[in-house]
Subunit: 387 residues, 2 copies
Amino acid sequence: MRDVAIIGIGETKIGELWDMSLRELGIEAGLSAIRDAGVKGEEIEKIYIGNMSAGRLINQEHIAPMIADYAGLDDVPSVRIESGGASGGMALTEGYMSVASGIHDIVVVGGAEKMTDVGDQEAKKILSATADWEWESVFGATFDSLYAMMARYHMLTHGTSKEQLASVSVKNHAHGALNPNAQFQREVPMKFVMGAPIVSDPLSMFDCAPLSDGAAAVVLCPAGKAESYMGEPVKILGTGMGADHMAVHDRRELDAMKATRQAGTKAFSLAGLKPKDMDFAEVHDNYTISEIMAIEDLGFFPKGEGGPATERGDTSLNEKVSINTSGGLKAKGQPVGAVGLNQAVEAVIQLRGDAGKRQVDDAEYGLIHNMGGTGASAVVHILGRWN
Amino acid sequence: MRDVAIIGIGETKIGELWDMSLRELGIEAGLSAIRDAGVKGEEIEKIYIGNMSAGRLINQEHIAPMIADYAGLDDVPSVRIESGGASGGMALTEGYMSVASGIHDIVVVGGAEKMTDVGDQEAKKILSATADWEWESVFGATFDSLYAMMARYHMLTHGTSKEQLASVSVKNHAHGALNPNAQFQREVPMKFVMGAPIVSDPLSMFDCAPLSDGAAAVVLCPAGKAESYMGEPVKILGTGMGADHMAVHDRRELDAMKATRQAGTKAFSLAGLKPKDMDFAEVHDNYTISEIMAIEDLGFFPKGEGGPATERGDTSLNEKVSINTSGGLKAKGQPVGAVGLNQAVEAVIQLRGDAGKRQVDDAEYGLIHNMGGTGASAVVHILGRWN
């Protein structure tokens, strides 16, 4: 197995991008990454594209060759990877394996989602198709309500408070205010978050990430060749996938994500690193409760300590561990199938030292955590500074 | 790179399976393959599932962990691979790479599609979403009509006749009559095919494959370990992917599939074999014209000779090269995202010598060819007998 580097990154602004189609989003991100890396089109051996549900959102399946074609790369084989919200991260894993194994040298991994053409209610229904439709969604269990149950159980079991959930949102909006690509770029005070309308008790509007349009991409190559390209390289040190029961009612734990724990354990083991070595992490905060569970399940804090730690400010920029410096799904936005790549782009920006006002001091190691459905799949990557 | 073997196969009967859901189809095929291989659940390191459009067909995305969970494999990471009709073959490529590279030892690759719950017209519309929706389908260019244009051009350029197209259908129905898993198991005489109602001129009903329910799966392992398992192994000798413009109107050729040619060339090169070495091939005959183009583009016959060769009987069972001994998509059926795995299952059956009345004599090498959309993606594998 060869070491693998990310040598180029690109992403679109995230938001309600009504003037851009999925293919336009895809190529904007992809071509930015290719330009950043300084690779030629004919060097690209394969394209992986993460996407949750273009079939339902824009009537288009088979989007990988469509985006490749539109980017002028119609000779390059491509394939779409889907694992709900973890589609982007899973695509990164497939791309990583194809380079680590020696099969390919230059691989582009992108993620793209166009959510806002169908309206909020329809988009939420489509998102619910990544839970178990036959045993959950069809009975009216929305994504919001399934995560609300986890939040309620976490509160009951560990004393997590609504203020602690809210502090995730306040922090991520504060970080998002420093990110020019974020969908929401302003701070939201605690009193606004606490006073927001309830979506599914105990989760209110500011506990839920938006559904967004956007795309992101990275270019991978063997670490041994990374310095011959233009973009400043970053190392991929470890990757891990995890799995769990599809339906929440089949899980053994309601206050933790087994898939996240499995994925994190494997990635740390492969990287030979520990949670305390991480300077920052991008975790899958589709809901505030998700971030609290993730920072516990990834080993940054003991189970039940995620809420108090966030409330104390331990996870704010340049505190104990900087969590979601990009603004996270909550403020940077949630173009579902692109999220894993948006996280990778943020990690590279941090490790290159290019994050400006949201820069983590002396960032050497970072983790990215991407989750599918209500937690039936998860994937973690650990990235490291080049020198 | 390690050599890779298929050590287990499983598939459902193909057809209108109204009493089975997608997850039931998936586990029937998957568990059959696992039993055939004699591997234990805890040995399985990853699951790849090819599927075109479960989101639209059954309201369910994120189907890989769903099927894994339902099979009792909720600890095994899984991911869905989508490339339209080539989803199954692309999943096989990803699985192959993950074993060849040394990353995984035991990997299950499945394909599943549940097409018939939505009705014929809706299923056809969903299939058309693997063409270019914005530039083809939305204007009324159905799959049928796009392939009809290719057929018309092939007829004009090479003198291919309607009888030659029909002879593909007659042959594949004759083969399907020998396959107990085929959707259609009876011979169809030439006069019925020639007299069938027109779907899109020059293609009539018997030129078009059905849309079906079904699933298929294989178990992969390193060739070095294959003999320690129960199932009789078969070697994967080569794999290749190809790509083309998404929309038919952007292509340079209308009588050939560039993606197929690219994929075939790569697979033959990796295997160190030539078309004349193949004893049989399963090619993607979603339309009769597709089979004629495929046997030309894969190098079995010169361009323009596919029609006459088929009419002469060169591609019938145990003639020059046995094409679609399973019955192909036309008679075995077309569960779209499963097709590539159905082809792999047939190849293994042939190479094990287990094909009964449709057995290819002394089958040593076989090729499988799977295509996405109207040809924007294609994938080829070359398989060989163990001893």
